[in-house]
Symmetry: C2
């Protein structure tokens, strides 16, 4: 090989080496391997192809590729109890020594007795009260440490694994796929924003500022020379139903072009997303797999899906059957 | 030239062509040409070098490179009146035919008479009331169109140019420089969030979800089959003073490592930013140039800078003198 031939070969190797650092086009390998090749996967891929093709009337610039995801029941399970409610129960047990009044005060009394059904029977407001009580009276940073530790270590009773890894593998692939196609991914959840932020970056690759959720009031104060933010025992904002659309506008400020939910609490977010101009994707995750996860919809106390399921059929939204459309539920351990 | 020599040359040209598409390191050319080579520029560049050097104890991962900017008086002027207040006055004039009661109701009456000083004499609450009144009773999308059009076309009385281009050139360079170094740039302003979002992406490259501001209440409703978000005449959140730290936590969820402000309304944001662990940058923009912009600080009704100026000196925060540290104020026309 002469010198210039060797030079050419070296250059070619450098170029090939550089190319391997560049992300291959999505078509080169299946970006959604945990999704069966059924309707929902085809609808998602077709939608992404439409909005990302430059020079077409349906092209959506990157700055407008906003996609929102409900969390409980959409990115991770919510049965038999919202995980954040499990967290609140653990906090109540831990804090009960300092709160003798909880022994006779509902829902604390029932929760301390281990009678979750009796506590729940009193309705959603009691759940919110309990969560509010156990989430307040500390700084935002102290709360973040407590929640982060709990999610990393507490194991789900049925699936015997820490909540941090009890996320839906097909949705993780979907988040990555959408981000690789220029989408900005947001969580829009009825759950507490500070609870979700404690794990969303590790679990989903979603940073704290891209989490919209329900929140308690905060108070800024000086402890001596040191400023701190205190979590107060009062609800500031409930990000559910109509509140999800209000939350989208307050925190994101732009209408999503795609949204994913699983319950009647997501109806308005899906409606609002679907009603914008241009290509739209509204998706319901339907819990149909009692063997691998849970099966529930109409009449479920948690994650009830009734009116929104009818609406999805009427409006031709995409409905994902976890049993039929997903070949895996959780990441491999 | 033989074949393989030609091949080598072609490859070299391809490589050089590809390299030109890659951003050059910041050192290759001055990223802040409108900043004089004085203390503030040196402090900013030294800070960025510290937090971006991998393998050092002071290295900050990209996900934690949060920087917040006040808007009025920090990214664009605020004299002789906040631009949003100018906008509200124009709205009041336009809407006054439908509001005969404004002829006797303050501050509307004074504003319609053109007596801005008399209107302002009644204090900040009146300003908020006037802005709230003129910003409500329409959908969020209608408001965005109105505000966007006004900012593109309304010309500043002194500088004779549209507000959209009346932004500080050194701060535009700074925003670009920080983003090129992996920072996520946020606005944290006492101004109305929907007003700022109407121009922040075009003017500063900051998308709507990275704008934190004061806000009014929103209502989600169906108009027939079409969902809409209505702006209500009620204040929801005031993002000023203590509220700026609360706003940072509510909307960003992570403490900034750098913050830029110019008035006493920014004290708590700067305090909170500076009090975190690791390298911190707290910067005050001091309006010292009556010739090229405005000169004001202590006792100014708008953008008053009193206690925070003392604090900046005591805490050794960086103070930018617009007269001495900036060689340009606005972008070239």
């Amino acid at each position: 090989m002469n010198t210039s031939r060797r030079f050419a070969t070296s250059l070619a190797l450098i170029i090939l080496g550089s190319l391997s650092l560049i992300a291959l086009p999505a078509a080169a390998q299946d970006p959604l391997p945990s999704w069966n090749d059924t309707g929902p996967k085809q609808a998602i891929i077709a939608f992404v192809a439409r909005v990302t093709k430059p020079g077409t009337p349906e092209f959506v610039p990157v700055t407008h590729r906003i996609v929102t995801f409900d969390n409980d029941g959409t990115l991770w399970p919510e049965q038999p109890l919202y995980f954040q409610f499990e967290f609140a129960i653990d906090r109540i047990k831990l804090l009960s020594a300092g709160h003798p009044e909880w022994k006779t005060q509902e829902p604390f009394a029932s929760l301390l007795d281990g009678d979750i059904q009796r506590a729940l029977a009193r309705g959603e407001q009691d759940v919110i009260d309990a969560i509010t009580a156990t989430h307040a009276g500390m700084t935002t940073e102290a709360f973040e440490r407590i929640a982060r530790e709990w999610i990393r270590t507490k194991r789900d009773a049925r699936f015997k694994r820490p909540y941090i890894s009890l996320v839906y593998q097909p949705m993780i692939e979907l988040l990555n796929y959408l981000r690789a196609n220029g989408f900005k991914t947001f969580i829009v959840s009825g759950g507490g924003v500070e609870f979700i932020r404690a794990f969303a970056e590790d679990a989903y690759g979603i940073p704290p500022d891209q989490v919209v959720g329900s929140s308690g009031r905060l108070k800024y104060q000086m402890r001596g020379d040191v400023p701190e933010l205190l979590k107060m025992p009062a609800v500031d904002f409930v990000n559910d139903k109509d509140g999800k659309v209000v939350g989208i506008q307050k925190f994101i400020g732009r209408r999503p072009i795609a949204a994913f939910g699983n319950s009647d609490g997501d109806q308005q977010m899906l409606e609002w997303t679907a009603a914008g101009s241009g290509p739209r994707l509204a998706v319901l995750i339907h819990h149909t797999d009692a063997t691998r996860e849970w099966a529930y919809d109409r009449g479920s106390r948690i994650g009830g899906l009734d009116k929104t399921l009818d609406l999805a059929v009427a409006k031709k939204w995409t409905v994902v059957s976890m049993k039929d459309d997903w070949n895996a539920i959780f990441p491999k351990q």
